[in-house]
């Protein structure tokens, strides 16, 4: 979905050629540009839901985009609670929704 990219801009100018990176989110392969955060790369690919609420299961995406709200937390290369909006995409990154598969947030087994 290249149409979500603002490659041309009347005041800020054009983005030009950027290095492409590959990453995986929830088992699916995506492409990012160098300089993308996980949040911007996924939004540009049309992915809005980054995780589900631990108890209610409701979908969650970015909210503040500058690291304050922690709504965009995901698991990156096995590490939990990484903020997608502050983390640059690296080649071959494995990103997952930040839901523990064995425990709920209250500590009970699913």
């Amino acid at each position: 979905m290249n149409s979500m990219r603002v490659d041309q801009h009347p005041v800020l100018g054009n983005m030009g050629q950027r290095q492409k990176l590959k990453f995986v989110f929830e088992g699916k392969q995506f492409t990012a540009y160098k300089g993308d955060t996980i949040a911007s790369a996924l939004l540009a690919s049309g992915v809005r839901t980054l995780r589900r609420h631990e108890d209610k299961g409701t979908p969650k995406g970015i909210y503040c985009n500058i690291g304050h709200c922690f709504e965009c937390r995901v698991r990156v290369n096995g590490q939990n609670s990484v903020r997608a909006c502050l983390t640059p995409v690296e080649n071959n990154m494995i990103i997952e929704s930040n839901v523990s598969r064995t425990m709920t947030s209250r500590g009970g087994k699913v």
Partner: protein, 403 residues
């Protein structure tokens, strides 16, 4: 141990680093964002003379100057604790810990959320989030959006999103019962918008800026709003609910009266694929609280403010503040304040001289001058509120000395 650690690589932090380093101090800046510049990065606006100010270029200038002076800038690092030492401060970060003789908090501001039903759906974000997506990451937050919250920030960002090729279907008020204060009151919103009068294509608003009082403006105001750059600004409509199952697909809105009551039977749904919430800014001061700083609640400055004086010193030894943590104002004011902080820290660390004192006085005057000329004043009464705060600081210090 370095001379000065600064938290925040925005306009205030970078400017402070520059003037401190120019006076021979060893400075390290820490910022949790991926690149330096803070909220300068998203900014893009037209000055009264028609020239565009691009925050990205402004940030680059500051960054380059700082690097030239040997300032170390660490991005992608978060600070989670501060401990006062005998001879300075220790910062615990997600990288290594840092010890510094002086510490400047230039953490800026955060946006206030407005919890409209449906606000946690993917596709709902703060208006600043959309700004960063569009102008910094160069990704559209969506194709068709609505902004909830009418203020100078939301109007300016609506224009920026439009330049990114995004269609803004309207800027409207939040449902009156949801928030305290004036964010749902058309008359109050008119007052703040009048400050952007020079940019308004609508004669009503342009004249309003000079002649019409806000009360009258809000009453005269056409029920369907007016347009700036083709974007409908509707002070007589409010968002009741954000709709969607897995992501935003619309907003339920209704008409409101001049004083902010919902008109029954006027509800309708506007289809959009994203929504921005513009609840205004509040100083981001957690680290000052962690440090043990005293606070005052000052509505004109946007919330709880660490107690400080005109030289940007807090009531804790070696701890300084600058920029929006001291009150919500424009980036230009933040830069001017940063300079004051950098100089007064340098004066503290080195032997203070008359020359230095003069420089500091000059920098303090420059802050006031910049404030007077500011295009965007977030709240009325900033200067008076600040004088009051400095007065409180002096009383507080004298009281402590007399004990």
């Amino acid at each position: 141990m370095i001379d000065l650690a600064i938290v925040g690589a925005g306009p205030a932090g970078l400017s402070a680093a520059i003037s401190a380093a120019e006076n021979g101090l060893k400075v390290t800046i820490i910022d949790e964002f991926v690149k330096p510049g803070g909220r300068l990065l998203g900014q893009l606006h037209e000055e009264p003379d028609g020239k565009w100010v691009n925050g990205i270029t402004e940030a680059e200038k500051l960054f380059k100057r700082a690097i030239q002076l040997g300032v170390i800038i660490k991005c992608g690092v978060s600070v989670y604790d501060l401990v006062q030492l005998d001879s300075g401060w220790c910062l615990y970060t997600t990288g290594s810990s840092i010890k510094a003789k002086s510490l400047l908090l230039a953490t800026g501001a955060s946006e206030t959320a407005i919890p409209i039903p449906g606000w946690t759906l993917p596709g709902v974000m703060s208006v600043g989030a959309a700004q960063v997506m569009g102008n910094v990451h160069r990704v559209k937050p969506g194709e068709n959006g609505m902004i909830i919250g009418v203020n100078v920030l939301s109007v300016a960002i609506a224009r920026e999103l439009q330049l990114c090729g995004v269609n803004i279907k309207g800027i409207i008020l939040p449902q009156p019962s949801l928030i305290f204060g004036n964010a749902s009151n058309p008359e109050k919103n008119m007052e703040s918008l009048l400050r952007l009068a020079h940019l308004a294509p609508s004669p009503l608003i342009r004249f309003g800026g000079k002649l019409v009082n806000p009360k009258l403006g809000a009453r005269l105001y056409p029920k369907n709003g007016f347009k700036m750059w083709g974007i409908p600004i509707q002070l007589r409509k409010a968002a009741i609910e954000i709709l969607g199952d897995n992501q935003v697909d619309g907003v339920r809105i209704a008409d409101i009266t001049a004083t902010g009551e919902i008109v029954p039977g006027t509800e309708k749904v506007v289809p959009v694929d994203f929504v921005c919430i513009a609840g205004g800014l509040t100083p981001l001061s957690e680290l000052a609280a962690v440090a043990g700083c005293s606070f005052r609640h000052i509505p004109q400055l946007g919330g709880h403010i660490p107690l400080h004086n005109e030289r940007m010193q807090t009531n804790l030894k070696g701890l300084y503040v600058a920029g929006n943590i001291t009150g919500v104002e424009s980036a230009k004011v933040a830069m001017a304040q940063g300079k004051v902080a950098g100089l007064s820290i340098a004066a503290q660390r080195k032997t203070s001289s008359n020359r230095m004192d003069n420089q500091i006085q000059e920098a303090i005057e420059n802050v006031k001058e910049t404030r007077r000329k500011a295009l965007i004043q977030f709240q009325p009464g900033i200067e008076d509120a600040r004088s009051q705060l400095y007065h409180t600081f002096n009383e507080y210090s004298e009281a402590k000395v007399s004990i």
